[in-house]
Symmetry: C2
């Protein structure tokens, strides 16, 4: 195998140029105005994969945004690895907080800045470049498939059907995903758990129009005051979720496993400093890592209602809205949670308002086994490139499609994410360090070698 | 005295044309972008008052928006009536709910539609036209002054100083104000009480940037969840305000006075229908009219934080904001309430967030005596024009400057408002019935006659 480090060094300017071309496409899946941009991103990836050595690549329509599929079958009797990624990105708002425009990528402080730099354009592009290297150096040891979707950030509504309809085409032995983070640059880790998600938009409607808050205040039920009370009541003083039945399917992690988890390096002062908070808080009786790794949580993602402009406007608002999401642990059902939440939320509405609650998206959690041959191969690959064994790690995030892959395709996914917490994914000033980008390409090529070599 | 009804009939097209000219000026006091419009409104009013017969009229600068002052002194030994009104209007947002553009007034269903149609351009213009009638028919029985400000909707921050600096000029025996509503078209009423106001903007700041709600949810204090809990805790299950010391200065109204108040005609079904709610709720132990008339209240006027766009965005917001206002009853101090609220609101902030609270505006409540000669004159004027005695009525709204007039100028104000609850002031589709506009002009001219005639 020709030296991957040398290959990266020689081609890195081109790699970045190509990635920048992809980052410039504002492929925001949640907004209809970007429909054309989704196709532009697909066409770019299709061409990239063909250039990198795919035998064929296609853009396949779905009921939502299209999927890019590509493959190179060197020998049908050899194992197949499928790479999953997504070309869609989160909305860039609030725009005024970006130091450089979200869709005009640039390099500063050895990082790539722009929406999608990490999540997931930057990370999926590492796979395209690792694939290119193996093709150009005739070192591809197995069959490779790529499935890149455009709806991950909105809950992958079309990909389940796509997988069911294309089971044969998508047949593979393992799925590789780079869409998660490492504990730290010098603490490589592989994500072995993900949380599920139930995401709602709720509306509390009161009077038929905004009323004068002087003439009516005190006599008419105020939808914002009500929404505040309803949200407040969803968690108790111990930060436990109060929805009846919510914890029924939550599996308590054994004391022994929690002890093991506690050994992972974690510096709480750095964590607080990184996100600029003085104090942390969460469910009583659990550590910070446990609160995101093995426990469910409930967050308001957005709230709005009434007058939000400059100065004072004395109205009693007609309506109030919130986006509320619940993170679930493996074994909790997203669908059951949807039903529990909606029933409960409506039940706590006081007289004088009309309440609606709708599911925006959701998905199940996932646990990956640490004795799977592909996990072990990934572990050895990290050891080669980072010089140390990666730590298995349960993330608080959700990639709902991963549990669906297991259900529909019967295949486990290995979450080789190379992001960092400081990458600010989903936030203004998303970025991805060049070092991680190149290290990811390197580690991925080692994975293929280790996976085909087997554990001996 | 020539017949006012005939005069109105003859001139009503011109009256409306002139009022529309004023309504077309978007004199929104809370937004800096309308600075020029404030001067345009002043110039229009100055010209209108001179045309109507004022001896002199001027636009006087303040630290904020200018004041229009005009006068006609027919005999320094006669009493002087001062008309107070305001040419500024509430912001028109949300624009998409208006059936016709807010600053393009039009007549439909015998009503004038547009921002300011009632509050207060339409109502103050009745005084200009009543003044015009008396001048043109040589029937003005006393001296008249006009003081029209441009900051009422933002709490009149400059008018107190203006009054103090112009005490001599503003010397008068009574102040007439049309900036309130009647109980109903066929139930004339005079507002004898107003509530005070303390209006705040609060900010709850958590992490230094929006975080991924999966990676951090459950471990990091969410400012929106916190703000909801803080707002929820400001009122208890009986809808009483929980701020320590808040009720100390609230005077309980005697059972006898409450019995008298309960005699005012009030149809709760019509009230609910008018504002499109099924149920009303408020402080336990008080009726709907009492809840707005003689009891304080706390309302969120606006709330915002996190992602409020289309679809789902899984962020844990960095900040959350709310506009919160408290209506006060006479004898409560707005300044003391400001201090109580800010101290309390900061004290209930949990660890992990930084809370700030700032006063946006405020003012004291007011009670007007029903045995004042000007009240009695107004009462007789209504009896003449409406054919029935008006009901003294305590409104829930606030005109903070009224209590200041009493303090600085030592003069009582008579609140001859001709609006209706259905006028949707401060809301989209503000309107003012033509009938009320003309009836107001008529009643105002009778007031002058009755006031000079005295009670005999």
């Amino acid at each position: 195998m020709q030296n991957i480090s040398a290959y990266i060094e020689k081609n890195k300017v081109r790699f970045i140029d190509e990635l920048f071309e992809l980052l410039r496409i504002p492929s925001v899946s949640s907004k209809n105005e970007h429909k054309e941009d989704m196709y532009r991103a697909c066409d770019f990836l299709k061409k990239s994969l063909l250039d990198a050595g795919a035998e064929n690549a296609e853009v396949i329509s779905t009921e939502g945004h299209p999927v890019v599929y590509a493959e190179k079958i060197i020998d049908p009797s050899l194992p197949s690895v499928m790479v999953y990624g997504h070309y869609d990105v989160q909305p860039p708002e609030p725009l005024d907080l970006w130091k450089s425009p979200p869709f005009e990528p640039e390099i500063r402080e050895d990082r790539i800045w722009g929406r999608g730099a990490d999540d997931d354009k930057g990370q999926l592009f590492m796979h395209v470049k690792a694939f290119e290297f193996m093709n150009r150096t005739d070192s591809l040891p197995c069959n490779v498939k790529f499935m890149i979707e455009g709806e991950e950030e909105i809950g992958s509504p079309s990909l389940g059907k796509f997988c069911m309809e294309n089971k044969d085409k998508l047949h593979c032995d393992v799925i590789l995903v780079s869409d998660t983070s490492m504990i730290a640059r010098d603490v490589p880790s592989i994500t072995t758990g993900l949380r599920g998600l139930s995401y709602f938009e709720v509306e509390v409607a009161g009077p038929g129009r905004d009323l004068h808050s002087g003439l009516f205040g005190g006599a008419v039920v105020n939808p914002v005051n009500v929404l505040a009370k309803m949200i407040a009541s969803l968690t108790d003083d111990n930060n436990r979720i109060t929805i009846p039945g919510f914890y029924d399917d939550v599996l308590e992690v054994s004391p022994r496993e929690r002890e093991e988890m506690a050994k992972a390096p974690f510096n709480i002062d750095n964590y607080k400093k990184e996100i600029e908070v003085d104090e942390l808080d969460g469910e009583s009786g659990y550590s910070t890592m446990e609160r995101t790794g093995i426990r469910p949580s409930l967050d308001v993602n957005g709230i709005w209602g009434g007058y939000t402009g400059e100065g004072a406007k004395t109205i009693l608002p007609a309506k109030a809205y919130a986006k509320i999401s619940i993170r679930l642990v493996p074994n909790q059902s997203s669908k059951k949670t949807d039903e529990l939440f909606i029933r409960h939320f409506k039940s706590i509405a006081p007289p004088g308002v009309r309440v609606s609650a709708n599911v925006l998206h959701g998905g199940e959690g996932y646990v990956s086994p640490v004795d799977h041959p592909a996990y072990l191969a990934a572990s050895r690959a990290y050891e080669t490139s980072f010089g140390k064994k990666p730590i298995p790690f349960r993330s608080g995030g959700s990639i709902p499609i991963i549990s669906l892959f297991e259900k529909v395709l019967g295949v486990k996914s290995i979450l080789m994410g190379f992001g960092l917490e400081s990458d600010a994914i989903h936030s203004p000033n998303e970025n991805y360090p060049l070092w991680n980008f190149y290290k990811g390409i390197e580690t991925i090529t080692y994975f293929y070698r280790e996976y085909m070599k087997g554990d001996n």
